[in-house]
């Protein structure tokens, strides 16, 4: 099984450890992974802020780059949602029928990480070991955009040593929302506080999610408030084994 990793612009720059975890995890599962260095960004930030023409050029780049990929794996549900929900409309609006067709052919081969594991590889037990109390926050794009459903839970429930603690109001937005976090910083902070109240009430050691965007916001707030609760992308948990636990040098 071959797959191409689209790391996403922000994971590449801010959370390389997530990419490393994805590589370790998928190679452990026998996936022949490649990484096309020409990749940059899916265009979500621009599209969602209203810079549609700019997003178009990024979308075009993505579609052309992955034209021949067997599968594209993306450890970010918001980026996959961008691709699934908006690419078609972008190409249509800009009158590019060729690109729209190319994209239509590519679309079934694009997967968010948990989707890739459960649907494409057909696995739930990825051989992970993560002996900690963990709570899961349902990132909005994964929850509503991609309808990932219980995939993350099916994966986390098979992680040895992991104690999954339910998060109250897990489907309520954390308040990141991309540029919303700075354009409406005060409201974003109020939403963050509400979410952290629920997260801290779980007494978990880790809060996990499908998206580092949410976790950057939650983790940034936790660190500011000097809390010991850590954030970790689901890839970090699933890649963790007894031999190579999460946090150890790669």
């Amino acid at each position: 099984m071959r797959a191409s990793l689209f790391i996403t612009c922000y994971n590449d720059t801010l959370f390389p450890e997530t990419g490393q975890a994805v590589v370790r995890l998928l190679e452990r599962l026998g996936v022949e992974l490649d990484f096309l260095p020409a990749q940059t960004c899916c265009g979500q930030m621009h599209a969602n802020t209203g810079f549609r023409a700019e997003a178009f050029s990024q979308a075009k780049r993505f579609v052309q780059l992955y034209r021949d990929a067997e599968s594209v794996v993306i450890p970010s549900s918001s980026c996959v949602a961008m691709i699934r929900d908006q690419y078609s409309g972008l190409f249509e609006e800009l009158g590019n029928e060729d690109l729209r067709k190319q994209f239509a052919a590519l679309l079934p081969r694009v997967f968010e990480l948990s989707e890739f594991l459960t649907d494409k590889l057909g696995v739930e037990d990825v051989g992970a070991y993560f002996p900690h109390r963990v709570t899961y926050h349902a990132s909005c794009h994964g929850l509503r955009g991609l309808q990932v459903g219980d995939r993350p839970f099916r994966l986390l429930n098979k992680v040895r040593g992991l104690q999954l603690v339910p998060l109250a109001n897990l489907d309520r937005c954390c308040g990141f929302g991309g540029t919303f976090s700075v354009k409406n910083a005060e409201v974003s902070t109020a939403m963050l506080d509400a979410k952290l109240t629920d997260v801290l009430a779980t007494n978990a050691e880790y809060c996990t999610a499908l998206d580092n965007s949410c976790l950057m916001h939650l983790g940034g707030g936790l660190h500011r408030q000097k809390k010991s609760l850590q954030t970790v992308h689901i890839a970090g948990i699933l890649a963790s084994t007894a031999e190579h636990p999460h946090g150890a040098a790669v």
């Binding site: 590449d12 720059t13 990484f35 260095p37 354009k183 005060e186 939403m191």
Partner: protein, 495 residues
């Protein structure tokens, strides 16, 4: 408008005129400090949402009803002209008079003319956001006509010189002590207790006198039925029935999008409306009437059909769905942003997710341009909308329009967000540029990185992040750097 001193607000009276209201982030600030309001909003939205969720779970055909409701509303919009004409014909045949108002000014003029014909000095009103949209009450006041709001919440707000903060429970930001003060003062009841039962009884008595004496009423409409020329109003208190039945003349103000094709279409819309709005299987009172009926109700009935920007919204492919709205408020009740701010921050009679898309469009995108950004795009609203309006899709579309406006303004070169977006787009155009940008970013941020490897304060737009969140320093090695060293094979190229 001066800031009156009154018991319900600890801040100056909120501005609900989109042309005058401050941008959303600014308007939200004082509200975020109003703990009581936020608690009330959270409590109210939780209660309604829980009831709604229970009833939706109970309704085995909820998905099918929602599909039909959305389809019926979209169908109406595609045939709006014919249905409005059919409504007009049938309403007129039933004894009503139909007027057409292109904009708010014309609607006010029509209503004032009718009221003058009726020699009205007072008018009783049923809550209608459409009348707030056209700013009717100030116009009535200026014409020497006293408008009396008869919904309990609207009465509280009117007597308290305040503004609604929620579509269905407009006075949810007001507590019982505040209501007691308002009633005691304005109704002359110094001994009144703050028990909600006593307060309600006081309102009942006060309003009953009005219902039985004021001969002219103004209402909105939940639905207009084309097939029969009927109007449908949905309510809980009974003040609607009073206003629709007792006066001699009735004026109904309705947006042109309110029409439904057939009476039987109510079998779908009523099922989804009550569950979505108040978490009930059916609201206490629903009234339907057609024109004028001798011996039963008003002798004179007028409908004022209001365009005010709606036919423009109709033109636009993505935005047209905005007009499918049936004003249930479910989007508001589920919105995590609204939960923190209530309605006042939106500076419009229409708040929450629907307000964020409707308000700027009714203003022809000339005002309220901050509203499409008053959202984290979580899509909870779309999930609950009984007529399946893809609000996030419309928000993104409107954001593109706002940015396109900005593209022609010289001031854009001083907007850090604009500059940042252009710079990022430049960087994303090639891997070489992107890697360079990553390096520059890492080096630049070193200035702000503390010994523990975290950034606590950033300048400019970054300060908006660091006001409440730390940022981990950019790692020395990006993912692509790590991959390159680990996977150094001949023949690999990067563009």
């Amino acid at each position: 408008m001066s800031a009156p001193v009154h018991p319900t607000a600890t801040v100056p009276s909120p501005v609900m005129d989109p042309r005058l209201a401050p941008p959303f982030p600014t308007a939200a600030l004082p509200i975020l400090q109003n703990t009581q309001l936020r608690k009330n909003v959270a409590h109210a939205t939780d209660v309604i949402q829980a009831k709604r969720n229970n009833l939706v779970a109970e309704k085995k055909d909820w998905r099918e009803l929602r599909n039909s409701a959305a389809a019926i509303r979209a169908h109406v919009l595609a045939n709006l002209g014919s249905y409005l004409e059919e409504f007009e014909t049938n309403c007129t045949a039933a004894g009503g008079t139909v007027h057409w108002a292109r904009d708010a000014e014309e609607a006010r003029a029509i209503i004032l003319r009718i009221l003058r014909e009726e020699n009205a000095t007072e008018v009783i009103k049923i809550k209608t956001m459409t009348s707030a949209e056209i700013q009717l009450n100030p116009a009535l006041e200026a014409a020497g006509i006293k408008a009396i709001e008869t919904d309990l919440a609207e009465l509280i707000l009117q007597l308290g010189d305040d503004e609604p903060s929620h579509i269905v429970v407009p006075a949810l930001h007001v507590n019982r002590r505040q209501v007691r003060e308002i009633f005691a003062q304005k109704m002359g009841l110094p001994e009144l207790s703050d028990d909600p039962e006593a307060l309600t009884a006081a309102a009942r008595t006060y309003l009953r006198k009005k219902f039985l004496s004021v001969p002219t009423a103004i209402s909105g409409a939940n639905f207009l039925i084309a097939e029969t020329g009927s109007v449908v109003i949905v309510e809980s208190e009974g003040n609607g029935r009073m206003c629709l039945t007792l006066p001699r003349a009735l004026i109904t103000l309705a947006g042109i999008e309110k029409v439904l094709p057939r009476f039987a279409d109510l079998e779908v819309l009523l099922q989804v409306l009550a569950r979505s709005a108040t978490g009930e299987r059916m609201n206490p009172y629903t009234s339907l009437w057609s024109g004028v009926t001798a011996g039963d109700g008003p002798e004179r009935f007028h409908v004022v059909l209001l365009d005010n920007g709606r036919s423009e919204i109709l033109r636009r492919k993505v935005e047209r769905q905005t007009l499918q709205c049936i004003r249930c408020g479910a989007c508001m009740n589920t919105c995590p942003v609204y939960r923190q701010t209530g309605g006042h921050a939106y500076g419009s009679p229409y708040a929450g997710p629907i307000g964020a898309i409707l308000t700027p469009q009714l203003e022809h995108m000339q005002h309220a341009q901050s509203l499409p950004y008053a959202s984290s795009l979580c899509a909870a609203c779309y999930e609950v909308c009984p007529v399946k309006i893809n609000i996030p899709e419309v928000l993104i579309e409107l954001r593109a329009q706002v940015v396109n406006q900005e593209r022609s303004q010289p001031a854009r070169w001083f907007d850090p967000m604009y500059l940042g977006m252009k710079a990022a787009n430049f960087a994303f155009a090639s891997a070489t540029r992107f890697r360079l940008a990553q390096r520059l970013g890492r080096v630049g941020l070193r200035l702000f990185t503390g010994k523990n490897g975290w950034i606590r304060r950033l300048p400019s737009l970054g300060a908006r992040w660091t006001m409440s969140r730390d940022l981990r320093a950019l790692p020395e090695e990006t993912f692509r750097d790590w991959w390159a060293t680990r996977d150094a094979k001949p023949g690999k190229e990067s563009r």
